[in-house]
Symmetry: C2
Subunit: 248 residues, 2 copies
DNA sequence: CGGGGGTTTGACGAACGTCAATCGGGGTGG
DNA sequence: CCACCCCGATTGACGTTCGTCAAACCCCCG
């Protein structure tokens, strides 16, 4: 579903970056000019291997990927998901070995982001630099959210919490709206992200459906009662632009 | 126990930095010259508040702290521990709001690291810059380890895994040896780090003791059989200097 | 008309949490 | 020096959540 021919494939990337900083016209053109080294990845492909020292920087144009680690005995833990618009290995500080691999979940398209990185290092794209720094910051925040999910939320809360996060991120990328969004994840993948068994993910989803909080069919999720869901899942109420809620 | 008067208070900091990069004599002197704005913090003090925009950079000289987040209903999740030698808020990229607060667990001493940051930004301390970049990288790696612990390890494995991590880090800072190290954590704190209840942490520690894998009394932990413990906890065998194990 | 991967369900057991009481040791005031 | 106190550690009983095993089901595709 995310692999359909997009007339403006870089739209998710631009939408994402624009929520992080107000790009200049030149910077927008620079991003739109990314057309070289566009790549397709089948589901399961490992885009970045654990410990790789110089993965080349990309943007996700379509499809989903997961940052993950696999233990010797086969257990897998997913750290987070990459959705259209997200940068891969665009740490402004490069040449660092990556910890954890990146695997395509669905069929994906990515595009080389080298020109963007060059412009930033040349000092020609301050707003782009700010946007990517912000993206890194948010990624770190999402990882902390994930730790809280795994450590201190119940299965029920974890599922709801993750759905709320994904809805928010996908809306930013231009997919779906405030309630509906594509969710091309199997229950096995959800289980590996949420630290649960497949069976228990299934039961939890059933419960959320029974309670008329969500709908889930053929790769589309609908949050029927977002506020209620958020309060049940200890999910911070945040506006799309800032993504930070005031506490005091 | 970690608060005793140290004749060379910056020793843990230097030991830590030297395992990350080979500092020049000038850089060592620069670090040793850190004497201003040394601060004491009682247990429970919040060193950095969630969302704070410009926490000033410090090194931990003695004592332990935790990076954590507290939910509305009081549940707490600890993301990781800071031990002597660790930097606080020394992100080379500053002016970012911090996500998650830092709280003193024991009595602590910290020291202002501003001069170090200035030297780095002035380009005068390349190896120091490398060391701190490396420290950031390792901190990110530890966070991923923590996610795996919470998501995919059993309680038994979690406890063992964390003890192994802490032993390694404390040895680097110059505390204890390959088997013995100070562990000034209550079982409540361990529970909040490991996503478990206090009672279950207690039972798990009992089991590890019964099996003669660890000893634990009056703030000192002893790993009686490190290799065995590591294999039971899916802990990667790593050498102190590199902290990364080859897989192939 | 079969396959095959993903989903759903039931039965059962193990892991883990909760409640509540007790214990133990180090500090402190008398 | 001693009695008291308080926080943290420990223990038992019990309940719930969650995992495992295994079978059925469903749907999309070839």
């Amino acid at each position: 579903m995310t692999g359909r021919f997009a007339p403006r494939p870089l739209e998710p990337v631009l939408r994402r970056l624009r929520t992080l900083a107000s790009l200049s016209d030149e910077e927008v053109l620079l991003v739109r000019a990314l057309t070289e080294r566009r790549e397709r990845h089948p589901p399961g492909e490992i885009l970045v291997h654990e410990g790789e020292t110089a993965p080349y920087p990309r943007f996700v144009i379509s499809g989903w990927a997961a940052r993950q680690r696999v233990l010797q005995d086969g257990r897998r833990q997913i750290f987070g998901f990459l959705v259209p618009g997200d940068p891969i290995a665009l740490g402004l500080r490069t040449a660092e070995p990556v910890m954890g691999s990146v695997a395509a979940i669905t069929a994906m398209e990515t595009i080389d982001a080298e020109p963007v990185l060059n412009a930033i290092h040349g000092g020609d794209a301050p707003q782009l630099a700010a946007a990517l720094a912000q993206a890194e910051q948010i990624e770190r925040g999402l990882l902390l959210d994930h730790v809280v999910r795994l450590g201190r939320l119940t299965a029920y809360e974890r599922v709801a919490h993750l759905l709320l996060e994904l809805q928010q991120r996908l809306e930013i990328a231009g997919y779906g709206d405030a309630h509906r969004f594509p969710l091309p994840l199997t229950q096995e993948i959800l289980a590996d992200a949420l630290g649960l068994s497949i069976v228990h993910v299934n039961r939890t989803l059933q419960q959320l459906r029974r309670e008329r909080l969500i709908e889930l069919r053929s790769g589309v999720a609908i949050l029927l009662q977002r506020e209620l869901l958020a309060s049940l899942a200890a999910y911070p109420v945040a506006e799309v632009p800032s993504k930070r809620a005031a506490s005091a």
